[in-house]
């Protein structure tokens, strides 16, 4: 890694000044209406083949199936908890598919759809929620960092990673790389997120802030976090922000692709607010009937991210009944595999507790490990010791 190469990709302060004219309210970027009608947007021409759109539909259906399976696994006691993505499939598949293999992703704990796009086996996601590991995949292999649970912390990691790209000379040119970081509407209140906006802005870091505004931070509606549309916050930090229909997979794809390309070319950060809705509970331990009206859910059901793609494919004749049956069958198959893999997933061995605390185990850790091993051996079977409450 050379530090010198970074200088060329860091914008000079004078270029970072804000334009004086107010940014017009763009409204919602939408390319596919809830009724499944394709509409054009002057800033986001999109040329996707029928196969591409069918493939997006397939992804949407499969990740919803995985989500449904995971919720039932939690109900059956196979998972400790699950954070459902129901309703947010389009935001995740649209943005996830807009990434290039070299782009780096920093997720929250709900980005199961993006994980799917990055080729992560859903069973690996379940490891975390089953309590078998804190994150079972190799981040660099998939360019998909571990899930971050502490709200908003990953926005700074993403910004720092992007600053690393600048120093590696990986910004601009043919093979530019960029970073995308996911977070929610609640996270925008955190200091870390606001600090990430500042750092990304002043260093012109190649990072796209992808906020899935699902309207609810557990029980708190958006108005507890912000008095202005979230995308407008970007302007105050000195970079562009936009709002996209988060239930429109095509629009999410288009705006993410454009923002990532701008970042890869050295034009700095963008805030994308994907306007969507958390159709389920915050997690399986939450009970949304305590704080929100069912009528709100009914309104959003009409904007379902999958139904509109299906309607579009049917209306235009780009897919026939056979295709939908195949997708359903495949989703069912993936769901069955995930269910079985979860049920048969073994617990880690007890002494795994002591692994990977430091690069090399310390003397104190080694001693604790040996003592605990001896303690377990003092029982008849190694699995019996220490297993009570």
């Amino acid at each position: 890694m050379t530090v010198e190469s970074g200088a060329a990709t860091t914008v000079a302060p004078s270029q970072a000044l804000l334009p004086d004219e107010p940014v017009p309210d763009q409204g919602l970027v939408q390319l596919l209406t809830p009724e499944g009608e394709r509409i054009d947007h002057p800033d986001y021409p999109l040329d996707l083949s029928a196969a591409d759109i069918r493939s997006m539909y397939r992804d949407l259906v499969i990740v919803r199936t995985i989500d449904t399976v995971a919720i039932s696994l939690q109900r059956q006691g196979e998972l400790g908890i699950w954070a459902s993505l129901l309703g947010q499939e389009a935001a995740q598949i649209g943005s996830g598919r807009a990434l290039s293999p070299d782009d780096m992703v920093f997720p929250t704990y709900r980005e199961h759809g993006v994980a799917w796009c990055r080729g992560i086996d859903p069973v690996k996601l379940l490891e975390l929620y089953r309590g078998v590991s804190h994150g079972g995949w190799v981040p660099e292999e998939h360019k998909f960092h571990l899930y971050t649970i502490v709200i908003g912390a990953q926005t700074l990691h993403a910004t720092g990673y992007a600053m690393g790209l600048q120093r590696d000379g990986a910004v601009g040119g043919e093979r530019g790389e960029a970073v995308i970081v996911y977070f929610g509407d609640g996270a925008t209140s955190q200091g870390d997120v606001n600090e990430a906006f500042v750092f990304a802005s002043v260093f012109n870091a190649p990072v796209v802030f992808f906020c899935q505004n699902n309207q609810w931070a557990i029980s708190e509606p958006l108005e507890k976090q912000s008095r202005i549309p979230l995308y407008q916050r970007a302007r105050g930090f000195g970079f562009p922000g936009l709002r996209v229909d988060g239930n429109d997979v095509l629009a999410c794809y288009a705006v993410t692709q454009k923002a990532m390309q701008a970042a890869r070319e050295g034009q700095g950060p963008t805030l994308i607010e994907a306007f969507t809705y958390r159709m389920g509970a915050h997690t399986t331990t939450d009970d949304p009937t305590r704080y929100r009206l069912a009528s709100e859910l009914e309104v959003w059901k009409l904007k379902d991210p999958i139904e509109r793609v299906r309607a579009y494919l049917v209306r235009t004749g780009l897919a026939e009944a056979d295709f939908f049956a195949e997708v359903d069958a495949e989703a069912k198959q993936v769901g069955a595999r995930v269910r079985e893999a979860c049920r048969t997933m073994p617990d880690p061995p007890p002494l795994a507790i002591f692994d990977h605390v430091y690069a090399e185990p310390t003397a104190i850790l080694r001693a604790e490990r040996e003592q605990y091993a001896a303690y377990l051996d003092s029982f008849d079977g190694p699995e019996e010791g220490g297993a009570g409450r």
Binding site: I81, G131, Q190, S219, E220, F354, G386, R389
Partner: protein, 327 residues
């Protein structure tokens, strides 16, 4: 007397505090309409209004920092941090601001802020939801750090903490929220033991077991099991982790001659280390064995499928009790 869960006892204690002092406020994430993720503040916003029971933006540093400002203006805020692992974004406000204000202002400024933190493991949660960060705060001068272990103490200690003119970090044993106990909701506070005192919860003669929060119940169960082996275990609930009630601790150890400290937090540099040093200094000639510690390992909190190994249980506490008789 009424049988209440520990969670309900906290709820009743907070209700009393809101009733008794119009300056008391409750603030945190989801504490209003939802009543908190553990329902500790259930119904309070409905009865006391949104100005006194405040759903805050999702920002822990913001919660504690604005609580400091409210306290400067004469209020007594009670902040809820949703889970132990989420207190860390607020550490600057707690450690550098809240704890030091009295000292910096040469006694002119009091900050009667209570920070409630559900703590500890044993509920099968994902990471950052099972931690025991008490010693970080016990190490910070200017903060009182307390831990309740049963419903009666929960009811009284939360009110005593709110009445305190010092900032209080109030740890709640989340896996014991649903344990029931008898609570005197009429005289439960006036007749309660001071919140900075330890309490002998089971008398014994052979060995002292010191504990707090979620492990008090575990240690009581261990003591009953030890009794079957003919060993008389005295169990002391520390209740106050800073300051420590060294007098009560040492009186017990001088009587029994043996001492075991149990906590969920890592043994390494944990509260047990401070206790072992003080007991050794003050009870040296009465000790039959070194002070032994049982606790979490020198590792991050493990994935939940391994937490039963990490958390001290009845067997590990009995094992330590046995070992004190090996000297």
């Amino acid at each position: 007397m009424t049988a209440l869960t520990l969670a309900k006892a906290l709820n009743e204690g907070l209700r009393k505090a809101l009733e008794n002092d119009p300056k008391v406020l409750i603030m945190g994430e989801d504490v209003g309409k939802l009543g908190g993720v553990f329902r500790i503040t259930d119904g309070l916003q409905k009865d006391f209004g949104e100005a006194r029971v405040i759903d805050t933006p999702l920002a822990e540093s913001g919660i504690v920092g604005t609580a400091i400002g409210l306290a400067l203006r004469g209020y007594r805020p009670v902040c809820e941090i949703q889970f132990d692992g989420f207190v860390f974004p607020a550490v600057d406000q707690i450690v550098s601001q809240l704890a030091k204000m009295r000292y910096r202002s040469r006694g002119q400024i009091s900050l009667p802020v209570v920070i409630r933190i559900p703590c500890g493991g044993g509920i099968g949660a994902v990471e950052h939801h099972s931690e025991s960060p008490e010693v970080l705060f016990a190490h910070t001068a200017g903060l009182r750090v307390v831990a309740c272990a049963d419903a009666a103490d929960a009811f009284a200690m939360i009110q005593q903490s709110i009445s305190s003119d010092d900032p209080v970090i109030f740890f709640e044993p989340k896996r014991r929220y649903w344990d029931k106990g008898e609570v005197d909701t009429v005289n439960g506070v006036t007749q309660a033991l001071a919140f900075d005192r330890a309490k002998v919860v089971l008398e014994g003669t052979d060995v002292t077991v010191l504990c707090y929060g979620p492990l008090v119940r575990t240690c009581l169960e261990s003591a009953l099991a030890a009794r079957e082996d003919g060993r008389s275990v005295e169990v002391v609930d520390l209740r106050s982790l800073s300051p420590l009630d060294v007098d009560t601790v040492c009186a017990s150890v001088r009587k029994t001659g043996r001492c075991v400290v149990a906590h969920e937090a890592p043994v390494y540099a944990g509260l047990g280390a401070e206790i072992a040093a003080r007991v050794t200094e003050q009870c040296f000639y009465r000790l039959e064995a070194p002070v032994l510690r049982v606790g979490g390992f020198a590792t991050p909190y493990p994935p939940s499928r391994l937490e039963d190994h990490y958390l001290p249980d009845l067997d590990r506490i009995l094992d330590a009790v046995d070992r004190t008789f090996g000297y």
